[in-house]
Symmetry: C2
DNA sequence: TTGTATGCGTTATCAG
DNA sequence: CTGATAACGCATACAA
C-alpha cells in the first residue's frame, strides 16, 4: 500500500508551472482566470486526486460550512427526522453536519457547546436538554456572530432564532378533537422538565379547550410524568383507570405515551376508542403501525430541520437585537385515526 | 452586543508576558512547564474565555479527532442506535462525530466520502448504501492511513476492518427456533440489494436450518423484496397467505417486516403464533410494543457502534496488509416473545 | 523552564 | 490574467 501525503494546491502548481494562488482561484472558477487554465487545473487536480483541505480553508477564511447540532439524543424519531431534514438542507449547500448528543444532561450540553465552538461551526441548531435551566453556555455563539437556532425545546428567555410549532394551539386542537368525538372526561399527561414551556403550552391548550367547552378541569385527570417513557405512561394510565370515575379520553403529548395508554386500556378490557379515546403527538412511525392506530398531532420534524438549517445557511449575520426573537411557526394538524374516531 | 474576535493563545501570552508556545504547552500540561505557570495560564485562559481552535490544531498536527459516519439514513432504529454508540465512545475520548447520510444512493456516498476526506476525519465508519457495488471511493482513506471501519452492510472484497454480526448463524438460529416451535412450512422474505451479502447470509442460514431438519426448501415460500418497507411486507405476506398451501411460520429479516406480517395475518383472521409464527430481526423498539410482541434476533447496534469507534480511536495506524481483514463478530440472540411462542 | 522560528494548506491582497 | 506574499491559530524543533 502506497503512502501518499495529501495532495495540495502546491503539488498541482508545481506540476503545471503555475502559482498556488492561480490554482486556488482556478478551482473556484474565479472570473479572472482564463478558461483554458481553469480547465487544465481542474483536470490535473482530478488526476492527482486533489481534495481540498477544509481545515486550512476554514482557518484561513473563518468559514467552515459546518452546522453543529446539539440535541438530547438521535434515537427519538422526532429528533432523527429533524437531523435528516437538517442534513438534507445542509447537503444542498455543501455544508457538513456535526452532531452531539447531550443525553438530556446539562453538563454535557455545556461541554458540547464548547466543542462545537472549538470546531468553529458556522451555526448551531439546538434542542435543549431536559435538565437545562441556564443557557449562558450559548452566549459564546451569540457573542461571536455565530447564528444559533433553537428548535422545539427552546428557552423562554434567549434572544435568538427559534423554530417551533405552536404548542398551545396544538394542545388546544387535540383536546377539542376529543371533545367533538363526545368525550366528557378528558385526561392529560404532562411531563415536567426544568423549563418545560413546551409541555406547559400543550397543557394550557388542553385546559383552555376544556374551559371553552364548559368542561370542568379535574386535577386528578392530569398526571405529571418524570420521564417520557412507555413504562411511565403505563403507570399513569393505570392510575387513571383506577379512579372511581375514570376518563373517557386522553390527550397524550407524545405518541409513545399514547401507545402505552391504548395498550393499557386494551389489557384492562377497555374499548378504544368507544370507552376511551386517545390522541397522541408527533406522528411517530409507531402511531401508524400500532392497532388501533393512533390519532396524533403532526409535528413536521424534517421541515423544521430544513428551516433551521436554512436560517443558518442564509447566514444571519444579523443576530442583532432588532431582528432577533425571530420565531418561525410551522403548522400542525390533527391526524384522525382509529384510536379516537368515534363518530 | 459586543463583538469580540476569538481569543487565541497569543492573547493569553500577551496578557501574561509569556511566549505563545508556553501557553500552548501549559494548556496541555506539558511536563516541561512549571506547575505555577500552568496554573496561571489555565486560570487566565478561562477568564478570557479561550477556546482552542481545532481547525488550527488539526491543520498543524494533522489530527482532527473527528470520526466520520457515512450511513444510509439516521432514521432507522438500528442506525440511530449505532450512531448513539459511536457518539458515546467518541465523547469519552474527546472525539467529535460528523454524520452524512447517503440515502442509499451510490453517488451521494461517493460525494460524501470525499467530503469526509476533505474534512480530514481521523477515521470513517460506514454502512454501505443499497446501491453501492463499487467501493473504490473508499481507497482515499486506505491510501492515506485513515482507519476505515465497515459496519453491518460491509463489502465482500474490501481489505479493512469490519464490525458485523454473524448473519448466517443468526438466520440459522431464527429458523431453527421456528422449527422447534413446530413449524413445518417456514417462509422467508429476502431483500435484494446490489451486493446483498448480508441478507444472502441470513437466507443461507435459513435454508441450511431447514435442510438440516429434513424440511424441503420451497421456492414459493421465499419472497424477494425490492425495498424493506411496511407496504412491501404486507404485499409479500398476502402473496404467501394466498398460496393454496400457505406457510405456518415466517422468518423476516427485519422487525418492520415482521410487524407487517403479524398484522396482515391478524387482518386475515390467522392466529399468531398458533397458525402462523413469526420471528423478526434487530430488536427494534417496535417489536416490543406491538401486540403480540415480536420474537426477534438481537442486533447490538450500540455495542457495534462502540466497537467501531474504538477501532478508530485506538488508532490503528497499522492498517497494513497484515492485520487488515480484521473482523469483529458480535453475538446475537434469539429473543422469544409472543409472536412465536407456541410451546 | 521558557522563547523563537517555522510550517500546516488555503485564500485574499496587492503587485505585475 | 497570473504571481508573490502574508495571515489564519496552533504545535513542534530547536535554541537559550
Amino acid at each position: 500500500m502506497e503512502e501518499h501525503r495529501h495532495v495540495t494546491i502546491y503539488d498541482i502548481a508545481q506540476k503545471l508551472n503555475l502559482a498556488a494562488s492561480t490554482i486556488s482561484r482556478a478551482l473556484k472558477d474565479h472570473h479572472s482566470i482564463s478558461d483554458k487554465t481553469i480547465k487544465k487545473v481542474k483536470q490535473t487536480a482530478k488526476e492527482m486526486g486533489f481534495v481540498p483541505n477544509t481545515l486550512a480553508a476554514g482557518l484561513r477564511g473563518n468559514v467552515t460550512k459546518t452546522i453543529g447540532i446539539l440535541i438530547p439524543t438521535v434515537t427519538q424519531p422526532f429528533l432523527s427526522s429533524l437531523i435528516s431534514g437538517i442534513e438534507i438542507a445542509a447537503q444542498k449547500s455543501d455544508y457538513s453536519v456535526i452532531i452531539m448528543q447531550s443525553h438530556d444532561s446539562y453538563q454535557m450540553e455545556v461541554d458540547m457547546a464548547k466543542s462545537l465552538y472549538s470546531n468553529r461551526v458556522s451555526g448551531v441548531i439546538c434542542s435543549l436538554a431536559m435538565e437545562t435551566k441556564d443557557t449562558s453556555h450559548f452566549k459564546q455563539f451569540s457573542n461571536n456572530n455565530i447564528p444559533l437556532v433553537f428548535v422545539d425545546r427552546v428557552p423562554k428567555d434567549y434572544d435568538t432564532f427559534r423554530v417551533v410549532i405552536n404548542n398551545y394551539l396544538a394542545g388546544y386542537k387535540a383536546t377539542k378533537h376529543l371533545i367533538e368525538q363526545g368525550c366528557k372526561r378528558i385526561a392529560h399527561l404532562t411531563p415536567v422538565s426544568e423549563f418545560g414551556s413546551l409541555y406547559n403550552e400543550r397543557k394550557r391548550g388542553y385546559t383552555d379547550a376544556l374551559a371553552e367547552h364548559g368542561i370542568p378541569i379535574e386535577n386528578n385527570l392530569i398526571i405529571s410524568l418524570k420521564k417520557i417513557t412507555y413504562e411511565e405512561g403505563v403507570k399513569a394510565c393505570n392510575q387513571l383507570f383506577d379512579l372511581k370515575n375514570p376518563p373517557d379520553g386522553l390527550f397524550a403529548p407524545g405518541d409513545l405515551l399514547a401507545v402505552s395508554a391504548v395498550q393499557t386500556a386494551k389489557k384492562r378490557g377497555i374499548k378504544v376508542p368507544d370507552q376511551f379515546a386517545v390522541i397522541g403527538f408527533n406522528n411517530d412511525p409507531i402511531s401508524e403501525i400500532i392497532e388501533p392506530n393512533i390519532s396524533t398531532i403532526t409535528h413536521p420534524a424534517e421541515k423544521m430541520g430544513k428551516a433551521a438549517a436554512e436560517l443558518i445557511i442564509k447566514n444571519l449575520k444579523s443576530v442583532k437585537e432588532e431582528d432577533a426573537k425571530e420565531i418561525t411557526f410551522l403548522n400542525t394538524q390533527v391526524l384522525v385515526r382509529e384510536s379516537s374516531r368515534k363518530i
